[in-house]
Symmetry: C2
Subunit: 368 residues, 2 copies
């Protein structure tokens, strides 16, 4: 997507074919736009652990490139093993990180050490391209839903989203935001209600930043406001991302998603979940009972970071001193509240039957 | 209620019978507890306009005492008229402020000027006492609901509340928090989930402060978290306040209340609205259509105020630069989502019939 008219991905190798990889430093967003060159395994590992890069797909691709940087210096079996271990330890719970490292290792281990670095760069580039293509396809399919509403309505389409499921979390396009970018690029009149998404504010900070940078009209709202807007006909559809979907279509996503899905149902507003097939966990069925929810630091609730008048980025305590906070990071939206699932193969109902229509090869594994 | 073991109201006259009125400076909460003596009409007016005092009942009583301070210096007809005009202009949309001034004026105008100041102090004290008594009765009735759950459950009762409907908004006890204080004082094991309540954070700042100061166990959560907690059986009931209730039981309250009511309904959690009869607007019936919703400054969404590490209270921008924000301040919870209404006369269903059971004298005026 674009920032100030220039096309960016979230990660790209140097043009001389190696030696360094560039990423956008997301810890500085939205107040500063900085890119950082990663030249060593340790720099790549630090970029992941300090969340200069975040979002499951981007973490995976960054780990893949981190392995490339390591193999340039030491392509022995020990070098490969050590680099994989270093990178896997950066974010202990990131499933995609381990998946990406597993893919890389399987491709590289059989090769003679002298061929590993070049093969690693090729494989990492392929992973980045595949992620971008998957997200592009999600957007191409999802765009039709927006176009249908635009045709019926004749005026601007108001889309509500929660958290950041945009290109900053991926390599390009994003998941929930990809249909919106496609619609906007096609000249459809879209406007996005951006949920702030407390406590980490990824909506107000990242989604608003990337929509603004690409030129998509949008308005930030408190997470509390969406129900009221839906009651008054100001939301035409909701599109959110997903961290894990069960084989029955229950969707775990950033905390608060469930509340918006309830309001959408109560007001007849279509509610879509956008995700690649890789996000579907075919081994589970009941999301509320089977998906463990990460409890994160209370400090994310009690403190907030922002730009002070003097230009410094500061953290302030916003809660009563001495009061404790709890911070469950995700919730589960039951499939009954989801109008449809937007994937790289098309849109289907959020149900076992719907998902298997799109991914029939999973029929043997999908839990009922 | 108590702060550090000492009983406070939010406003009280000096013990020598006049000349000054003391209030808690709520602009300094939760980071500092300060009281301020108001000695003149202008100081009282400023306390209201700068929100040193806030909450409809407290604003009304502060205006009443402001009139006392004015009449001590000038009890002529012009003095009375001028002081009423000055006080009425402090918060142009506060219904309760105008109601309180109307009551005072009606009582004082017929008196000879020499008797007005003393009569004003007596009337203001009566208004304060009546508000405290109304809130005490709401709590006495609501406590039974909590006691029933405690008896059935045998362990601590988890109550979710939104925004601040506590004693800081009233003279004492509060509305939604009054049943909780009564239950806690009676030795029932209660724990309160305090919704942060973006964008103004009255939950994280004021509700958490007053519960903590009185010793009531509580935990602050992001507004997004309540649905997840209800899905997992961690909320036994919800009690919220109300800014305006229709004759049919629709409840306008701080933005986001509607989302919690939806989640409560979806999970079979009882959802109560606590309010004095004076909050019921018998002239309207359909809340979503008839209650205009105040749109407040976008700055409340884009900026947050808190305590920096150096001890200063600072404001920081938390949103992407250049992105706009919208800030609807209230939403309407339809009566169908409300389990019951807790009032000074008891608890009733949120319906015309239910409300008129408690307040039969309103039958002639209540819209259907």
């Amino acid at each position: 997507m674009k920032i100030g008219g220039v096309h960016y991905r979230t990660i790209w190798p140097s043009e001389d074919g190696g030696a360094a990889v560039c990423v956008i430093d997301q810890t500085k967003l939205p107040h500063e736009f900085n890119t950082v060159w990663l030249e060593t395994l340790d720099e790549a590992a630090r970029a992941i652990s300090t969340m200069q890069v975040r979002g499951a797909p981007l973490i995976g691709v960054t780990a893949a490139y981190g392995l490339c940087l390591a193999l340039t210096k030491n392509a022995s079996d020990e070098g490969l093993d050590g680099a994989c271990a270093t990178l896997a330890a950066t974010r202990p719970t990131a499933v995609n990180l381990r998946w990406a490292l597993g893919q890389m290792r399987a491709a590289l281990q059989p090769l003679p050490p002298a061929e590993r670095a070049a093969a690693a760069y090729a494989k990492a580039a392929q992973m980045a391209d595949e992620d971008a293509e998957t997200c592009r396809l999600i957007g191409q399919h999802g765009q039709k839903t927006i176009a249908d509403i635009a045709a019926r309505k004749g005026t601007r389409v108001n889309i509500l989203t929660h958290c950041n499921a945009g290109w900053l979390a991926c390599v390009d396009w994003g998941t929930a935001l990809s249909p919106i970018y496609h619609a906007h690029n096609a000249g459809l009149p879209v406007h996005v209600w951006v949920d702030e998404t407390r406590p980490r504010n990824q909506g107000a900070a990242l989604t608003a930043f990337e929509l603004g940078a690409h030129g998509v009209p949008h308005t930030i709202i408190a997470d509390n406001a969406g129900g009221h807007l839906m009651q008054h006909g100001q939301v035409d559809l909701c599109i959110v991302g997903c961290d894990r979907m069960t084989a029955m279509g229950d969707a775990a996503n950033k905390i608060g998603t469930y509340l918006k899905a309830l309001a959408a149902k109560d007001n007849g507003v279509p509610f879509y979940v956008a995700l690649p097939e890789s996000t579907i966990d075919w081994t589970i069925s009941d999301g509320v009972r089977e998906i463990p929810i990460e409890e994160r630091s209370p400090g994310e609730v009690t403190h907030m970071t922002g730009l002070a008048e003097n230009g410094e980025v500061l953290t302030v305590q916003v809660t009563a001193p001495g009061s404790h906070a709890a911070n469950p990071a995700f919730d589960v939206t039951p499939a009954r509240l989801v109008t449809g699932v937007m994937t790289e193969r098309g849109i289907a109902p959020a149900s076992r039957e719907g998902l298997l229509q799109l991914f029939p090869e999973r029929a043997d594994h999908a839990r009922a």
